[in-house]
Each structure stands twice: as C-alpha cells, then as structure tokens.
C-alpha cells in the first residue's frame, strides 16, 4: 500500500510543481511582459529576454509531460509483461466501462459546422468501445488457459469480421453515392469511429459471452 502511494506521489508532486510554475510564469508574463506569451499571437514572434520565465515554464511543462508519458508507458509495459508471466488477464474495475459514455460527445460533431468548424468530435464515437470494460472487468484476473485463449481468438475474429464488413460496405457506398466532399468526410469519420468502437466493444463482449456459454455448458 505504501509502495503504491509513493509510486503516485512523485508524478502528482511534479504535476503540482508544473502547475504552480506555469501560474507564476503566466502572472509574471501578464504583469511585466504585456501577456506576450499568454494571449494568442501571430507568427511574427521575436525573442525578448522578458519572455524567459514563460519559456522556462513551458519547457518544464513539456519535460514533465514527456516524463509522465514515459512513466505511464513503462508501467503499462511492465504490467503487461507481469500479467503475461502470470498467465492472467489484467485487473480492471468493471466501472471503467462508464468511460464509454464519452462516446456521446461524438454527437457534438452534428452541431452546425460554423460553431465548431471541425469534424473532430465525431472521433469521440470511438469511446463507445470503452463499454467493453464492463465485460473485461468481469473477467479480470482470469487464468488464460488454452480454452480462454481460443475464445479470445474467436471473439477477435468475429469482431474484426464485422468491422471489415462494415468498412467494406462504406467503401462501396463511398464510390457509388454522389455527394459533397464535406458530407462524404463526415459520414466516413462517423462510420469509421463507430465501427472501431463497435469492434473494441465486441471483442470483450463476445469473449465474455463465449466464456460464459462454455462455463454454463451451453
């Protein structure tokens, strides 16, 4: 427990220090530097010594972000390796499935283009795939014996088959239907994001279903 606490202490402290330094630098920039690096500016930037605090703070932020990313990636790789050695599925809380609710943010993409001037929100449909955590969480810390691995392959295969089928239809429809490039781009993005979300979800759902079917002896 203590080990777990101390593992989080350093990243949290470094985030805190970064936020504090950034706030101080922003205050100094607004007070003594006319907010040159706080307010949006055009490309005609030229260096002034008074920019140094803000530039240092930005460098520290970037360094901190990179270090955190490296730590997270390293932890993820180590954890995966440990789980592979133990031949057990990763430990997950099924409640992480609620992250799938972020998928509804994808509907922001249907707002009139003038308001957001981008199609990017459609990508959020991908988050529907996180509903799969509900099922992955239920199979948390399960021994991955050969029957389980066989079910994993079966579930992945079925999910990918469906995904490829949908993408195949999308490509055909894209070639047949005549419409504006904007509409084409948004439809492509919506369908691709939804399909990827569906594939992510189905991999976990089908695995759970196959495994339960086996356990019930259906």
């Amino acid at each position: 427990m203590k080990n777990k606490k101390s593992r989080w202490l350093v990243p949290l402290l470094s985030i805190g220090v970064c936020v504090l330094v950034s706030l101080l630098a922003a205050w100094s920039d607004l007070t003594y530097n006319s907010g040159r690096l706080v307010y949006p500016m055009d490309s005609s930037y030229s260096f002034q010594p008074s920019d140094i605090p803000m530039l240092l703070a930005l460098t520290l932020d970037a360094f901190c972000a990179l270090t955190l990313l490296t730590l997270i990636l390293r932890e993820a790789i180590f954890r995966r390796r440990r789980e592979a050695e133990r031949r057990r599925t990763r430990q997950l809380n099924p409640r992480l499935g609620f992250l799938g609710l972020f998928g509804f943010c994808g509907f922001l993409g249907f707002l009139p283009i003038s308001e957001l001037s981008t199609y990017t929100p459609f990508v959020f449909f991908l988050f529907f795939g996180f509903f799969g955590f509900f099922y992955e969480g239920r199979m948390s810390n399960t021994l991955m014996d050969e029957r389980f691995q066989e079910n994993v392959r079966r579930a992945k295969l079925d999910a990918y088959k469906l995904g490829i089928g949908v993408v195949h239809l999308l490509v055909i429809a894209n070639g047949l239907i005549d419409c504006s490039p904007e509409l084409r781009a948004s439809v492509m993005l919506v369908v691709l994001s939804l399909t990827m979300g569906l594939v992510l979800f189905l991999q976990e759902y089908l695995l759970y279903r196959y495994d339960q079917q086996d356990a019930e002896g259906v």
Binding site: R87, L143, D145, E146, R147, F148, D214, A215, G217
Partner: protein, 66 residues
Amino acid sequence: MAEFTCNLKFFRQRKDLTQEQLAELAGVRRETIMRLEKAQYNPSLKLAVDISRAVGAAIDEIFIFP
C-alpha cells in the same frame, strides 16, 4: 469439433482428485476440466499429456476417438 468419449472423470476420481486440484495440476481453469469431462472441448496435445500425467493414465484411455 471432433466427437469423442472422455473418461477423465473416472480417472480423476480414481486418483481422488477434485476438478479444482486437477485444473491446478494441468495449469488450466476448473471450467476447462468440466468441459473436458463432458467431452465438449477438444484439448491440445500438450493439455492432453499434462492431464494424462496428472491422473496417471494413458491419453488414449482418457480420450477415446472413434
């Protein structure tokens, strides 16, 4: 899946092993042993060998293919 007759339950009980114990010896889950006993799962050669060693019987005595 190929149909076969499985005598695993007989050999397991003869060895006085529970499904849980046999699962641990063979490195699989109890559900897998349950499926094997019902002849609803076709095991890999490695698993068949592990099980035959655990229950002390020959593979072709445990799994009988027509």
